[in-house]
């Protein structure tokens, strides 16, 4: 076994133990398992939120996109900022609703707000479906790290299976509290590690960041500016940044994480400081460009990168001591696995509780729901692994597919939290029209105008449909609106 791989597996063992310790001595309950008893303070909640973001997407995907597609990756910097800004207003309200109405999952809120079982089941199903590409991304990323760290001794397929098993074990032993604590550890490694290494790679090959960019600009003159309309141009950038920025908090697992915060103040203060965390993405993006420049000058180096998303790790292996790569690989792998487990946990919970129990089998007891949820853990993971084998794709593309689906919840959530206007019929038809537009433009062979992101076009239509349909359909009964209005009056108890 290589030094790199030894460190990676060692770290995995340590995080597993931490996960077990964190989960020990706590009574198993739905609230504890899924929202950590609503007890996360500022630091733990911050790192949980931050590590959700800092997954395979950030460690490998950003660099892969910068390496192969160029500067349009800056959409990631834009969307995070938009997302946290919106969270400042939306987050405290979701946290409050979770607390006062005892919600555990995302559909709980929508079902209750619009008095519609159907909407609850629909949102749960759509959530589960679009979690799959996000989970696939994490599992592909983990596989890539293990495969490259082994120096080719472990095949990609075997590596994917190893990360599959690790993720399932991780979910079984810890629940959200375990995820929170291990995230805290790896957030520290990734934050300090990636920032320094990101600059060191450019220095190693080119003596500095600017000389690297100047070389790259000469080699690939169009790599560092957005084209006007074609490809990943200005319109692609704008629509993708908005789609993802508005959609970020619509991810079922991130929505749920908001319930886990101890107080609204914790949520709001997080929203204020989270943008800073994104600066850690910049060195990763720079490294992606450094790989593009290096590969342009040195075809033998370029040939080592079989898939664009390997760019970051290939560069680390080529330019850094084995123990540094080991630590970073470990951080990256743990980030993927903990994000995977949050996703798996959420998909299982949504299916068992919101689809099966609430939608079809109301007589099911909570303990049975928890059991079914646990049985579903390997099932969802296996589905994502199957997609990784059958339909591999670039990590960033997978993330955008996920966003295109879950962002369709945005109109119903935001209008439902801030206004009394939307009706059940409006929100349901909005989601359906949004998804239909997404599928039409994604798979129908028709291109969107100006290369806008298909999910974004769906979102616009979704908004229009919600407003129009709500104007002539029946609103929920006044007592329900009053209950929400009372819960959401933000003046007291900040």
């Amino acid at each position: 076994m290589t030094i790199t791989l030894t460190i990676i597996f060692g770290w995995l063992l340590v995080t597993t133990i931490v996960g077990i310790m964190a989960g020990r001595n706590r009574v198993f309950s739905m609230e504890e398992y899924f929202v950590a008893g609503r007890s996360f303070g500022l630091v733990l909640f911050y790192t949980t939120a931050a590590a959700e973001i800092y997954s395979s997407f950030a460690f490998l995907g950003l660099a892969g996109w910068a390496y192969s597609r160029g500067i349009s990756i800056v959409y990631a910097l834009a969307y995070g900022s938009i997302a946290y800004g919106i969270y400042f207003f939306l987050g405290p309200r979701i946290n409050r609703l979770g607390k006062t109405m005892n919600y555990v999952s995302q559909p709980d809120f929508l079902e209750d707000r619009y008095d519609s079982k159907f909407l609850g089941v629909l949102v749960a199903m759509v959530g589960v479906i679009f979690i799959i590409p996000y989970l696939q991304l994490q599992i592909m990323g983990s596989g890539m790290i293990v495969q490259l760290a082994s120096g080719g001794a472990i095949s990609w397929q075997t590596a994917v299976i190893i990360s599959f098993i690790a993720a399932v074990i991780f979910v079984y032993i810890s629940g959200l509290r375990g995820i929170g604590w291990t995230n805290f550890l790896q957030a520290i490694i990734m934050l300090f590690g990636m920032v320094s290494v990101g600059f060191l790679v450019s220095r190693h090959y080119f003596g500095g960041v600017q000389s690297m960019f100047e070389t790259l600009h000469q080699l690939k003159p169009t790599h560092l500016t957005l084209p006007d309309t074609a490809g990943n141009g200005i319109f692609w950038y704008t629509s993708t940044a908005l789609l993802s920025g508005l959609g970020f908090w619509m991810w079922p697992h991130i929505f749920m994480a908001t319930y886990s915060a101890k107080s609204e103040k914790v949520v709001r203060r997080n929203a204020t400081i989270l943008p800073l965390y994104q600066l850690a993405m910049v060195p990763v993006i720079i490294t992606g460009f450094a790989v593009a420049a290096k590969a342009g000058l040195d075809p033998a180096f370029g040939a080592k990168i079989a898939k664009p998303d390997q760019a970051m790790f290939v560069a680390l292996l080529d330019s850094m001591p084995a123990w540094v790569v080991g630590l970073l690989g470990a951080g990256g792998l743990a980030a993927s696995i903990s994000t995977s487990s949050a996703l798996i946990l959420t998909a299982a919970n949504l299916t068992a509780r919101n689809i099966l129990q609430k939608g079809f089998m109301p007589h099911m007891e909570d303990i049975q729901v928890a059991k079914v949820g646990r049985l579903l853990v390997p099932v969802f993971t296996a589905i994502a692994v199957a997609f990784a084998f059958l339909a591999p794709s670039m990590l960033v593309s997978l993330l955008i597919v996920g966003y295109s689906g879950i962002t369709q919840f945005f109109p119903g959530v935001v209008l439902g939290v801030f206004t009394k206007k939307p009706t059940k019929a409006g929100v349901i038809s909005g989601i359906i029209v949004g998804l239909a537009a997404l599928f039409f433009f994604q798979f129908g062979g028709v291109k969107t105008p100006l290369n806008l992101q298909p999910g974004f076009v769906g979102l616009i239509l979704n908004f229009i449909v919600v407003l129009v349909v709500s104007s002539f359909t029946k609103n929920v009964e006044p007592s329900r609106l009053e209950r929400f209005e009372k819960a959401l009056s933000m003046q007291e108890g900040n």
Binding site: G85, F89, V209, F213, T225, L226, R268, I286, T419
Partner: protein, 70 residues
């Protein structure tokens, strides 16, 4: 429902932050030169805006604190 008094004021900061990432600002920032901190201009601008967003949201936080707590 709706925003509190302080939040209404704070919303201005969010709008400013979002505008910094959107056209026409992006169209203006879409260039390689000048290099700032070693980065081509568009990458620098986006990173700079992340930092600006943090400052703006801090101001938003202070604004809601001042207006909404008694």
């Amino acid at each position: 429902m709706g925003l509190t008094k302080g939040e209404k004021k704070a919303l201005v900061f969010l709008i400013l932050a979002i505008l910094g990432f959107m056209p026409p600002v992006t169209i203006w920032a879409n260039r390689v030169e000048p290099y700032v901190l070693g980065m081509p201009f568009l990458l620098f601008w986006q990173s700079f805006m992340v930092f600006v967003t943090f400052i703006l949201m801090t101001l938003a936080y202070k604004t809601t604190e001042r207006n909404d707590t008694k």
